[in-house]
Symmetry: D2
């Protein structure tokens, strides 16, 4: 806190020094260009913190359009110097030595990287940069030329949010409210319905862990929620039920990872999830030696989409088409319809998860993530998620991916090298029936 107020203060002082030259925020748009150029000059060396803060403040007051203008400025005025780069490219072609390559690299790196680094010096600069990128992402679709700018943001943020700089922290009911409210805001898989629901998810038979970066102490980057139970969970509704009695965590044999959420849109594409799950497995393993099984209870977001997409496939059997039709009716309330659907859907889901690929990768994005981490497909659960979302996405099916510490590496290698998807006997046994009518 001291440092924060102090930084504000010193930046304030710097700003006052600067105020002779400028006329406040009103003419920010005109000024931001010259401020950015100054930041890159010798002046920036001496007054970097104050000037960076100025830019961040002006940016903060910008309309959408002005923000877009700022990114265009980054593209137009802070790209590599064309003549110089041509010159060095030619020089390299003539003398492709390591030394010349170094020189070329130095000129090829866009000066906006330096600009972003300079902005990071502002009080709260890291947060400002992350939020700038969030804004930038919104412009990319309509302004694809800004991808060049985004590449530089991504490059720097990947470097700054390197795993070596992150800390794993347990989030509990003892955590500050200003962090806990972020869980409510960022939970992306199974929405948290207020502080009561949150509290249940932080009871003694639950765990929540997140990655934090020292420059964003109140902002989880990603967090995972875990339930400590006695066997593979097969229903998310039971897991989240307030009325279920608490378990004694010391007796738990199974840790179920039931939700993992990225928090910072500005860090999109910078992956933390695989690190997080493995570290939490290790952490729990140390704390609760009775835990033997580490698995997820995961959605299958692409299952029904895939079913539907197959409707028009000539090869499909009439039984399959019939099934699809049944699915569109209000089957969940009707026990016999549900019973009819159960077997075929479990079979088809096993097929979907283990056989269907695009670009040699599993079709289902969640599956891709966990199999890529070295996990295997352990169990498919009928009525695993009976919420509206569960019905719509996956006809209530959910799946447990198993993280077996002894096999993760081998499975990861097999998956990467040969595309092999490991699944349990139980799941395998679901496969054959499906082939007859798919």
């Amino acid at each position: 806190m001291l440092l924060k107020s102090f930084l504000t203060n010193i930046a304030d002082a710097g700003r006052d020094l600067l105020s002779g030259h400028r006329h406040g925020l009103l003419d920010g748009k005109a000024n931001i260009a010259s401020l950015c150029h100054d930041l890159m000059s010798q002046k920036g060396e001496a007054l970097g913190t104050a000037m960076a803060r100025e830019v961040v403040q002006i940016y903060g007051s910008f309309t959408e359009e002005e923000k877009l203008g700022f990114f265009r400025l980054m593209l137009d005025e802070f790209s590599p110097d064309k003549d110089k780069l041509c010159e060095l490219a030619t020089a390299y072609i003539n003398d492709p030595s390591l030394n010349m390559a170094s020189n070329l690299a130095a000129v090829a790196e866009a000066p906006r990287q330096d600009l972003i680094r300079a902005l990071n010096m502002a009080p709260g600069g890291t947060s400002a940069v992350v939020n700038m990128r969030k804004d930038l992402l919104g412009f990319l679709k309509k302004n694809p030329e800004l991808n060049a700018v985004d590449e530089d943001f991504t490059h720097l943020l990947s470097s700054w949010f390197n795993r070596g700089f992150l800390t794993l922290e347990r989030i509990s009911w003892e955590s500050p409210a200003c962090i806990l409210e972020k869980l409510i805001a960022y939970e992306a898989v199974h929405a948290i319905k207020g502080w009561g629901d949150l509290r249940r998810r932080l009871e003694e038979d639950r765990r929540c862990y997140g990655f934090f970066h020292p420059a964003l102490p109140d902002e989880p980057l990603i967090f995972v929620e875990v339930a400590l139970v006695q066997e593979l969970s097969s229903s998310i509704q039971i897991l989240l039920d307030d009325n279920e009695p608490l378990e004694n965590p010391n007796h738990a044999t199974t840790a179920i990872f039931y939700s993992i959420s990225n928090c910072q849109q500005g860090l999109k594409g910078i992956s933390f999830g695989n690190f997080l799950i493995k570290q939490v497995v290790a952490e729990l393993f140390l704390e609760l030696p009775k835990l033997k099984t580490f698995a997820t209870l995961s959605p299958i977001p692409g299952f029904r989409r895939w079913l539907t997409a197959n409707r028009d496939d000539m090869n499909r059997t009439p039984e399959f088409i019939e099934l699809l039709e049944l699915l569109n009716k209000d089957w969940i309330e009707q026990p016999d319809r549900a019973q009819t659907l159960k077997g075929p859907l479990l079979s088809l889901c096993a097929l979907y998860l283990t056989q269907e690929k695009r670009n040699e990768q599993p079709l289902d994005p969640v599956s891709r993530f966990h199999l890529g981490n070295g996990a295997s497909i352990q169990q498919i659960n009928w009525l695993g998620d009976i919420s509206e979302k569960g019905l719509t996405e996956s006809a209530t099916l959910m799946v447990n991916y198993l993280y077996d510490l002894d096999k993760i590496e081998r499975q990861h290698e097999a998956y990467v090298n040969t595309g092999k998807i490991t699944c349990s006997k139980e799941v395998k046994s679901l496969l054959s029936p499906s082939l007859s009518f798919f």
Copy 2:
């Protein structure tokens, strides 16, 4: 602490997983190359932390020669791909668009940057990378081709140790011993003679501040020592004297920065000093509103060297030559000799500090630093440092550089743009006499 042991643990687990493929550290040299390549592959994604730890451990067991081999490996096998770079250089010359520039930049960046980023994921990785660069610096003289590797280390470390990621912390007698012992080890200006001397420097009328990086929590990057006094200090021996009574810091009017030391050789060339002094000024200003004057008590390391270098200059007067001879005798113990020397030396020193330049910069390195920060030359002190070092370097002279918050920016600009060195009337008045006999 928890995280640290946990990281060790998970990395240990990973290592055990890996152990099937390798035969321990003995054949490290052979292995490190393949480990590094694996780290860059998809395998690295899944086992990055464990593999990075392996590389760091193997490196730690290396002889000097093997370390050199490792840096050559970085140069030979992790430089940009020659063919691809030529191809893209050509492409850029043909189509010097922003898009092509992006592509070129991506290939021009040496893959060893990615390797260093991967190593940073190891437990203690940041510290390991900083120490690798320290080793690398030792090889550069004899192996100048490794400068290309050093450029990449420097590039990344500059980005990671960006001001925005550092925290300013006060170091006091309440600080952990494991940090305090670093002050004793790293103090570079006026050696700390054990824990008693250290304690005196942390009493209530002294302050010590350092910059820290979250990934190196026990390692100051740079620290500055400050005395809170009643007037410009003119003698370092009095300042460091154990027997001087403590001042009440609340009555102090003057803060004297009497020592600033960089701590991490591996961060050589990455400048923190100018940020540090200004932040400490702001910090003290807030804490102790009675402080009016912020100044240094600085050595003049190049003064006698410069005097000597002028001995053979034809233009010098006989008086000057005489003076030089007197200087070589044991004058300090003899009041009349000292008295003879005082006036001329003060004059010459004013000349040296304000007029003598190389490449349009002040000759004296300490002067260069403070003037570059926007400080001015306030006072030159006779018998300021009567230690052996003070005698040898500067004939006992020391100088106070003044940090006047209201003038720092203007002076910095004048210095940068026109080379103007600001000094007090008192120092100016010393100048004229010198001209007559120099």
Copy 3:
């Protein structure tokens, strides 16, 4: 956390050691007596922590009746030894020396004090003792003989919760949720309506401070809520309104203490409030130098009760009786009735607050508290609290007590020595009209 689990562990170990002698919690009631006696013996020295934990656990499993039995046990078996006390009383009468007084005091102190001290050694012992007293208070009415036991609890808790052991802590949105939920639970003046309301009360123009005891780190003992505003607040509804814009706390001139709540029923009668307000005044004074006025916005809980009690007084005027009748009607919705009431009620309230006493003390309990602290009566506010409670208790009136740092001591002395109540001219001017019709 480490220590906590460790203490649990060591106490567990101790319990296992003990288990040879006992048969678990079932026969707790029989056992607790012998356990308590053992605790006082030499055995307690060696196994104190474990035995204390045992008692606390058994107590925790008790029914109301068994708890009552436990306090009777404390009375019957842990009171001073009658014979010995008689003997020493006689001895003292014969030789009333300081030495004999010491001996007498040692025997006169009930052994249950030692028992309570021993229980405090259990993990969580302080909390257990505080909660025991809470239970005990519930029994006193029907079992007045237990007052002797309560005196010993009170004596020890007063000593343990001595101001010197308490820490003042700011409670903010950065505080742990497990503390914040206590605010919601314990707020006694203006109920907090959930986490949204709580968050508003912790915004930047609000402050909340509490006293904590190191042995109860998650439990505020008392807390006060403050609003930072521009002038004396005259309406609690405006103060608590979510839709009011935030003020910049650095511009605030006035700090309004609008709620103060004791949290621990088990500490009833141990007063922290006067310390708390003064310390918070000092804290705010240091943090926000622009604050000039420190005052409360306080309820007047006894005002209407007092009005009603005066109904049957022969001396009262017909106008007064009429007014009372008007008060019982639904006047608040009817502007002209309200207008009629305003003047007389303000006058009567000034009379009530400044003149009405019992046992030479102000009749109103809140007034007693603040005047006893040295505050003065500054302003009476019409429609200050238009909630149901405000209407019922004080016909919507609220009062500002002023804490003027320069006058607190003098006013406190005058109040204590001569019963003088200080009030502002404005309040004084309200007084005279009332006399004509009361």
Copy 4:
């Protein structure tokens, strides 16, 4: 920190308020009496913190004689009221009810207890009270009447430093220097020879734990030093040797408690040691599961004194007298003399430790402490401490007391109830030879 400065501030403010009545510290002696009486009055309620601070400051400026005067004041003016006490003593004799006992106890408690409680409210009050008692202890010998005052200090400090309020903390090289310097100052068994020696005692194969009280955060109350080794240590010199290689603590099987030191003279007689050792045993047991043996390496401070005291006993054999004479010569440098002494001394020491008692307790004070904790005598070590002190006190012998978690309770009970001293077979076997010549 904030609170500390704030408390200083509020107390300062209070003092200024008071300054109208008094004339500074010069006439402190006269004032302290009236200040103390005021503190007990209603005035104390409002201004307690400030007035307590005043008393503490005045006391701090006192000469020895004035301090003595202050304690006499406590005796003379803050003892129970003689008349009232007589009255209540008589009343109790006439009606020895529980109620009357309560009344009597309230009057029998010396008012100085309240005074001490009030002083505790001063900033740093707890520390001040502890130091007052330290001073008081120095006066007791010559002023035995002050024992009545000391009883009240002891009574309160015992209550305040109740085990339930203490925290066990590991002290390491990461601890603040201001705590570590206390270890050097307070180590009472094997002096720490500067920071280098201290650092060795905090290496990874060593542990140090202390009890702390929240009101004295920088002051250990007691600390214990532990070595993690492979077998019972038999020589303190080897244990403390800088040149011995570090052990891997994870492989250690044996924890040797080689030093335990009380730190606060003002807490003399308030015992923490037995709690500390048992808690550290539990702590280590959890952290390092390979540890099987917990034992001390202890001095035998009374051994040679006891030998000498037996010189004049008529019953002693000539061989014993001869042995004593040999002991007085410079035997340690002469192998054959040493060899002659070894057997008889080990025997006599076994006799001393296991048979010699006074008041049914072991003669040796260290033995008394550990046996009272439930430990047993495991091994007597020849040349265990060859320092000057070791030679003089115990002819180089040291002893290992064993803390066997499974037996502590039984041994403690046997020791307390029947005086039984448990020792190993090895020690028993040393006993018989001694009987022949003692």
